[in-house]
Amino acid sequence: MHKTSAEISGMGHSMKRKEDGRFIQGKGNYVDDVILPHMVYAQMVRSPYAHARIKSINTDAAKKVPGVLAIITGEDLAKANLAWMPTLSYDKQMVLATGKVLFQAQEVAFVVAEDRYAAADAAELVEVDYEELPVLVDPHKAMDADAPLLREDRTEKNNKIFHWEVGDKAATDKAFKEAAVISKVNALSPRCHPAPLETCGCVADFNKATEKLTVWLTSQAPHAHRTVFALVGGIPEQNIRIIAPDIGGGFGNKVPVYPGYVCAVVASLTLGRPVKWIETRSENLQSTGFARDYHMTAEVAADKDGKVKAMRVKTLADHGAFNAAAQPTKFPAGLFSICTGSYEFPNAFCEVDGVYTNKAPGGIAYRCSFRVTEAAYLIERVMDVLADDLKMDPVELRQKNFIPAAKFPYKSPLGWTYDSGDYHAAMKLALDTVGYDALLKEQAEKRKKGELMGIGISSFTEIVGAGPAHTFDILGIKMFDSAEIRIHPTGKAICRMGTKSQGQGHETTYAQIVAQELGIPAKDVQVEEGDTDTAPYGLGTYASRSTPTSGAATAMAARKIREKAKKIAAFLLEASEEDLEWEPGKFFVKGAPSKAKTIQEIAFAAYTNIPPGLEAGLEAVNYYDPPNLTFPFGTYIAVVDIDKGTGEIKVRRFVAVDDCGNIINPMIVEGQIHGGLTEGFAIAFMQEIGYDESGNVQGGTFMDYLIPTAVETPHWETGKTTTPSPHHPFGAKGVGESPTVGSPGAFVNAVVDALSHLGVKHIEMPITPWKVWNILKEKGITG
């Protein structure tokens, strides 16, 4: 690929971010910063119970609070047929509870008042008379004969959502029968929450005169949300404008449509005034899309030399009260079937059962391309168990079973075609960087002295970038994505995409793609996303899909522009198109480089000196349907020391070698990796949304759902190999989620490795000092 000048800053330049100027000056425009004339505020009334019949709701006292304008209940919504809404997974979800509540913090009533304090006062005074019902918390009991029936609205009178399976069961079972070694692990990927620093919220503004509804929304997928609003609310789609302004982090949390959004729209339609609803952090953690809650069992069959023969996976998925999983609709377990990972399994079989419980609905893909984090964790964990069973070095076991670079594209036994990879190269770089052999020696010496040190490896494979459209859709909408580029007469540009940045730096990276393809300096390219009235339709940003889809669309649209530019250049240079050559920024006549026209001159001519037979202007749009997913990969190595007295774990080193194909902006890629590793660290060691037996949330605030601070967070060492995607227009793969997907396995493997000589085979996440201390106590290591 031609490396552009720093002035142009195309692919591969660590250009400083164009969006930063407003953020460092406190001039970002997040949803809660939107303040409109006559705007009113809303507060949700939520259920204190996990499962209870609603006997009555009394709003008399609440209505008397000065400033209260409206109180909406489920019964009110039912009259407009809005008490329920569809989820993205062919289930439905209560907007406001009617009849009963199914999880603690469920939405029961919506109070609107002149200011947020009055709304909060009134919400306190809404009296709801509940009759408690038996609570189902443990998903393993969901299918028991005596389990309480949660979803009385369904035809099926049980708590089962789905059974899904993939792979060749008979061949897999046969391989297990013939195997010399079978290793097994039961591993929980605990319920956690993306917890972006900005919570969810909206400002809904229905203008009664124009009948136009404008919604400022914390949305990772504004176009899809517009369509959902049109379908649910019956409002003509052209009369809905969704604006996703600056978004304070998403990580999957801002993909679903939440009841608060629907209520705010209803309230604005009713009152004819803008209605702001911003959830609190507690509401965010307790009611919006959680992630994971996968109760997994993996078995691996291998020969005595450690060559793997088959993998068998059985998983119980807890989706909470409604199946509100935000994922491709035909994939009830997302892309979990990537669980054979980086290894050449001849056979595999995977099954997942989804059940309802009295917990918040979900689950969403938290910085994860739909259950890939669960899958990567599971395979990396069970490979370590197999290594331990075989008394083999986990590095050697992995190297022995890696899909060789020469075998790509590689068809996995569970049906995916991996586009490209060189797993040995990434592994080698990680081992060399961390100094693996020296660490093994140090560990052996420490063990002799009774000190606890562990090394954890994770050689993950990701699957990102959904489409392709023939396989993936959300509620029928195909998972393509889009870009539109307009070149102004002075050679500057504006582009708009169907995706939506939540901190990933799209305003910079998309501009760099245009710079690479057209030679227009990235600083001259304005990128806009998130306004459905102006941007082309797209499915949004999640699943590391922006670069694989809209990034590709940007390159394709730019290439269309280049084709037209070539015609204009030929006209201006009085040469034939065949005689022209391109380098970023200009067309020149072959063999006569001084006979050239810059893209800026060409753009000016497109409006001022139009060649006969050509349309005026210089713009293009592309809706890109990727031919396949992309498969980023890497090897992560964690080194931990454990304090014998307290069980405290210190991550001494963490080396992350990533391969995400060709890189647009190395600085941004590294930043994504730092952030994702920190989230993976939190998942491995700190975070769980737990529930007590009555269904009370145990991780419902930042006091007990822990976010690592700068003090706990390890220092990250990053490295890269580059294996381009063969099918992506510029060989990129996507990177945002690799670190969250790949790192939990490395952390857990490191802690288990530190304790493996004591007979420890597995520890469930989050691995807290308390858990480790108890193990040390049980093993007689500490007093």
Partner: protein, 161 residues
Amino acid sequence: MAKKELIKLKINGEEREVAAESRMLLVHFIREQLGLTGTHVGCDTSNCGACTVLMNGKTVKSCTVFAVQADGAEIMTVEGLPSNGALHPLQEGFKEEHGLQCGFCTPGMLISSYALLKKNPNPTEAEIRWGISGNLCRCTGYQNIVKAVQFASKKMAQGGK
């Protein structure tokens, strides 16, 4: 509506006098009464630090201070960081070192870093990490924020501010 109190304070060098309910939180007062929306709200338990402002030279989480408590005080928010139209070295540092992604924690981070450098112009990495430990970031993993503060510390030592 509850009774309103007249609150007089100096914010980013400007004298303001605005009435507010006595229970109004300082962060809502700053954002909604004074129109300075750079200061953010990220939690309801004083954990996240997105609302950090300087009050009489000390960092406070403005979600945990009533506006009336700031009567007569001197407040500085992110909007008060640049001087004479030029960015503060910390603001430059956050951009140069990629110390922000979504930007939501950034104003609070900047204020905490500013307070740290006032007290300790040449902090070690550990001192920086402790200095910003009252501020949560979900995007960056803090490593580049540390570098951003180091950038500013160096630049200020060279007379940048």
